[in-house]
Amino acid sequence: MATTMQRVRFTFLDHMIKQPVIYRMGHDFDVVTNIRRADVQEGVGWVILEVEGELEEIERGLEWVRSLGVRVDPALGDLIEP
């Protein structure tokens, strides 16, 4: 299967900031993560990263990230506009 790439933004709230979410995603799923930009402050933080792999594996990985309570969004904001 061909690999693909997605640009996503993870938003971490409160306790999730301390969890090594991106490391574990790369470890437990067959995807390569590459952080491009981030801002982590007390109580909230975000990381914009590239996730590369087979689409299905990226989806599985992102779903796992969501299941932890981390918000996953398109890197550049919502593309659907009212």
Binding site: R36, I48, E50, V72, L76, G77, L79, I80, E81, P82
Partner: protein
């Protein structure tokens, strides 16, 4: 374009040649158009602007696309009305209403799409596209029709069909996507990468966004070449809000107007207020939310320009206000019943926000204030359907007089 220098990353400042891309390869930051302001200052003048067309293209010197009559359906140069009734109600001496609900497809989106479409043609595109649940779809379909371009409009499959009638009438290819909001987002991102289409708010977004600068230029011109003390605008992605201020500042920078001391106030509804909430909590990190507001045209939970809107508030000494959901319809009715202008939910939010700012004392009675009304009420009649209460009578004069309580 002699006045357009490059595209530049808003985060790391890397520059790129002019083209259809919106993301920095290095840091994934958003790109924006860089202008040669000295070149613009050399040619721009009030007289030159006033001799231009009665549309946003009178500001072509400040825009990233050349005027193209093939695209022009007269977007922009909408009325700026001196308020009487609303001003009196709020205790303001100089309140102005920028009525952008009378654009060709009845929202400010005609401005951004007009510029995006002109640029798309310059860049050789034959197809315009967008993902939208409302106003943007209408503007894209209308401009594509005018320009003789193909149009693809992506909508979530659970959207009520009536919501997109205003777009469907122009006969774009409309695709209802099964799946969640996120699925539509992802699909459009992938299509924008794979197809040689101009996705107005994706790969041509830097040009698209700059169409909103004209909301700043116009107000300055219509106020008699001056900037207001306060501007209140509803915000969804935050882009329009940011660009209004950029427009005012560019007029200052090029000597078209004197010093700009406008305080920019962003209004959002309680059910989708990521920017206003961040402002209230004193931080620059936006926490995305799931939109749940009656003001559907402000329903962007993960606003692309939220951070930059917060920076605009900071730079201008402005603020952000949250309108409660019940205040949205009240705001719509107040504007209609005091000024004769019927707006949609976003306008209701702006009016409710204005009211709150006055109550808080942020706006002094004698300060020139402009409130932006960005969409037309006929698009969201369900919000205020309770106003229809006709008095039912038999067809006689006596029945009329008895029921209504009048006498000839």
């Amino acid at each position: 374009m002699v006045n357009v220098a490059a595209l530049r990353c808003k985060e790391c400042s890397r520059e790129y040649p002019i083209g259809a891309f919106n993301v920095c390869d290095f840091c994934f930051g958003p790109l924006e158009v860089v202008y040669d302001m000295d070149a613009i200052a050399d040619i721009a003048s009030r007289e030159r602007i006033m001799s231009g067309p009665n549309s946003l293209w009178r500001y072509a010197d400040f825009l990233p696309a050349e005027y193209n009559p093939l695209v022009d359906i007269n977007a922009g140069f909408t009325p700026l009305i001196r308020s009487r009734g609303l001003a009196e109600r709020l205790g303001l001496e100089e309140l102005w209403i920028k009525n952008d609900s009378v654009n060709p497809s009845y929202s400010f989106k005609d401005r951004v799409v007009a510029v995006a479409t002109a640029k798309a043609l310059e860049l050789g595109f034959e197809t315009l596209a967008c993902a939208s649940t409302g106003n943007l779809a209408c503007a894209v379909a209308a401009h594509a029709a005018r320009a003789g371009m193909n149009a693809y409009v992506f909508i979530p499959s659970d959207l009520e069909a009536g919501k997109v009638l205003g777009a469907a009438i122009y006969n774009p290819t409309m695709i209802a996507v099964n799946g969640s909001y996120d699925d539509v987002n992802r699909l459009c991102s992938e299509l924008a990468d794979q197809y040689h289409w101009a996705f107005v708010n994706i790969n041509v977004r830097p040009f698209y966004a700059d169409g909103s600068k004209t909301l700043g230029y116009e107000v300055a011109e219509q106020l008699g070449w001056r900037a207001p003390a306060h501007a209140i605008a509803p915000s969804a992605s935050g882009a329009m809000f940011t660009k209004i201020y950029q427009g005012l500042r560019e007029f200052e920078q090029t000597g078209i107007i004197d010093k700009v001391e406008t305080r920019m106030h962003c209004a959002q509804a309680r059910g989708c207020s990521p920017i206003a909430t961040a402002y209230k909590e004193g931080r620059f990190v936006i926490r995305p939310v799931k939109p749940a507001t009656i003001a559907k045209s402000l329903g962007i939970g993960n606003p692309a320009d939220g951070y930059y809107a917060l920076k605009t508030i900071e730079a201008s000494g402005g603020s952000a206000v949250i309108a409660e959901e019940h205040e949205v319809a009240e705001g719509i009715k107040l504007l209609a019943q005091t000024e004769g202008i019927f707006t949609e939910g976003a306008g209701g939010v702006a009016i409710a926000g204005l009211k709150r700012l006055v109550e808080r004392g942020e706006i002094q009675p004698d300060e020139p204030t402009v409130v932006y009304i960005t969409g037309n009420g006929l698009k969201t009649t369900e919000i205020v359907s309770d106003v229809v209460n006709p008095i039912l009578i038999e067809g006689t004069v006596s029945a009329f007089e008895q029921s209504v309580g009048v006498k000839a």
